[in-house]
Assembly symmetry: C2
Homo-oligomer: 365 residues x 2
DNA sequence: CTGAAAGCGCTTACAG
DNA sequence: CTGAAAGCGCTTACAG
């Protein structure tokens, strides 16, 4: 298409404004390319490429001349073309199966915060871990788009087959998880264990001794960590998880209701219940409401996550806050570092949850 | 790099399994390309390209031969290469400034449902409409990635400057909005007006006459539509919005509390309050709780959105449900249709909200 | 430190 | 209905 080239060259002209240096009058219809920059800076496009890719092998004067042209004409390298030539995409993916919308969006926002600084964009990919196509489907997603890296959110981040597949196809990833499942460089760890232990301290300090526990589903690592942290926390005060007062939910509102029915219909019901997430705690609220049991007067309830729900219930719910946005940002920064500096040593990234005490905490005299 | 080509050719060999037809043993390290398909099908790559792009100008026999090779070796066209050659990206964007996480994720899921069927991927882009860089920033996003189309969520979908900019740069878009802001082909409309009118019917039927209204912020179209629908709904029963009982909130929990304080401290407080979204309704719950006002015994409360919050409050909240997932899917389907069949006539897409009656609705004897 | 050539995997525009 | 050539906007590998 020599015609196009000719017209572009005709349109790209330089003019001098008195004392202001060169000003380039540009064809507004077409985005400038590396060839335009090369021509205007009077260098080869390979040298422009070196500047774009921050190669140290460029004379400082040359670099500045090129940088000026780039800034003047507003050149931005085409990620598609860069990607096709270099077998990458400048795209990050986030893979999740968590149903909690606010949590996803918060993490997403954190990831995007990190992307914004580095020129990556984010492609979202919810998945169904129980589907027989699961691995094949994620693999196609990753390979088709040549994703530069993927961030895995819990609980799908706990899937070892997924991690193995990504390793096999050469796709870098960072997992957000509540236990160290992997090498430090691949992880952002949030310590559910500690958060749950804090809840134990809190409840014991309030004077509770007969404490109910609603666990999460057994196949979730977070469920396991929260239980372990809570049990160990109680143990530090010479208490333990009473089997009679432990029930397992499914992290859903409905399962929280069912668990509450069980616990509150005991001959001697607990004076406090710690639910392994806010959704289930809200289910406890519902049952207490239906039975006319006052919170926190007759029953203390504590959740986990600090979802929007927790601060809007009546009374407002004591819970454990996970800094989701920050976790997303840290995960993305780590992933980008792995992509851009493959040899950099990366340390463990650990995020601390903390207890948010609200109105659902009552004392026992 | 003739070496690479040679090794690939060497690796690509055919073998016959008795009576099973040809089986291609493939180099697992390298994804097959259009050249591989062309060679194995003994046609030019242009003809393969025609099959990929569903051109009708291919002999049926040729098409089937090529399709078989494609299926056998698991060829998938590289979107980057296709995009570079054809000035597109097979990427859709979603631009939003709404803070409601579950709403975003639901719409996102709907969009992805439509993408899955058509080979598009979704890039997410939250934005800050009040930033001075807003337009420039979205423009860069769209141009850099050569997005094939963008879906705009409310309230940023109401921004006419944004729509104008997208039109100018030639980026197709579909807006999700509560009023017809644009041509039918560019819109998915959800009728807030009707939802709010239903609330009026409901409250009047319950016997309420002294009804409070918490409006959304005046610069949101949804706030306007919900007010208008509610007022018109009341008017159909010979009632009207009493100025004294109308207050304006900001769609936030805190503003809902402030509005409730005003309404409930009136000499004759309302017997029912319709809040323009669930967040503000939850704020009303909080104030009622603090003042010992029972819902629905002394006060009926109705929200709007059917966010997760609404079904988890105690008592569960009557509200208006917007089918967010469906809206996302319809918007994406419409956008994809515009991309793939630019000449197709597209009709108005309208989504109906509906009232979900729960426990916060009380009768007046 | 810099550049000319070839290539990434497709499609466009043209020809037959 | 099919194909050879040129091109999309970059980078790689090599040379100097």
């Amino acid at each position: 298409m020599p015609g196009a080239r000719t017209s572009a060259e005709a349109a790209a002209s330089m003019a001098d404004i008195a004392g202001e240096g060169p000003l380039y009058v540009w064809d507004q219809k077409r985005r400038p390319t590396i060839n335009d920059v090369a021509r205007l800076a009077e260098v080869s496009k390979k040298t422009v490429s070196r500047v774009i890719n921050q190669s140290p092998l460029v004379n400082d004067e040359t670099r500045q001349k090129i940088a000026k042209v780039i800034a003047d004409i507003g050149y931005e390298p085409d990620p598609q073309a860069r990607g096709l030539a270099s077998q990458r995409s400048f795209l990050l993916g986030v893979v999740y199966d968590n149903p909690n919308g606010q949590y996803i969006v918060n993490i997403q926002n954190g990831i995007l915060e990190a992307c914004r600084k580095s020129g990556f964009e984010l492609v979202v990919h919810p998945c169904a871990r129980n589907s027989p196509q699961f691995l094949k489907e994620v693999r196609q997603f990753v390979e088709r788009q040549k994703l530069d890296g993927v961030i895995l959110l819990p609980p799908v981040s706990e899937d070892e087959a997924l991690a193995a597949m990504l390793t096999e196809v050469g796709c870098r990833f960072v997992r957000i998880a509540c236990v160290p499942l992997d090498m430090a460089a691949h992880l952002v760890v949030y310590e559910d264990y500690k958060g749950a232990a804090e809840v134990a301290d809190h409840l014991v300090q309030l004077g509770h001794r007969r404490i109910g526990f609603v666990a999460g589903p057994a196949h979730y690592r977070s469920a396991h960590e929260r239980r372990r942290g809570f049990a160990d926390g109680l143990a530090r005060h010479g208490l333990g998880l009473t089997p009679e007062l432990c029930v397992e939910g499914a992290y859903t509102f409905e399962s929280g209701q069912a668990c509450a029915e069980k616990l509150l219909s005991l001959e001697t019901p607990p004076t406090a219940i710690f639910a392994s997430n806010d959704e289930m705690a809200a289910g406890i609220y519902r049952v207490a409401f239906q039975h006319g049991i006052s919170i926190p007067g007759q029953l203390t309830v504590v959740g986990f996550d600090d979802s929007p729900l927790a601060s809007r219930t009546c009374p407002a719910m004591t819970t454990v806050r996970l800094p989701a946005t920050q976790m997303g940002q840290m995960a993305a920064e780590k992933l980008i570092k792995r992509i851009e500096q493959p040899d950099a040593k990366l340390l463990e990234t650990v995020v601390q949850p903390h207890l948010v005490i609200r109105e659902s905490s009552g004392t026992i005299r």
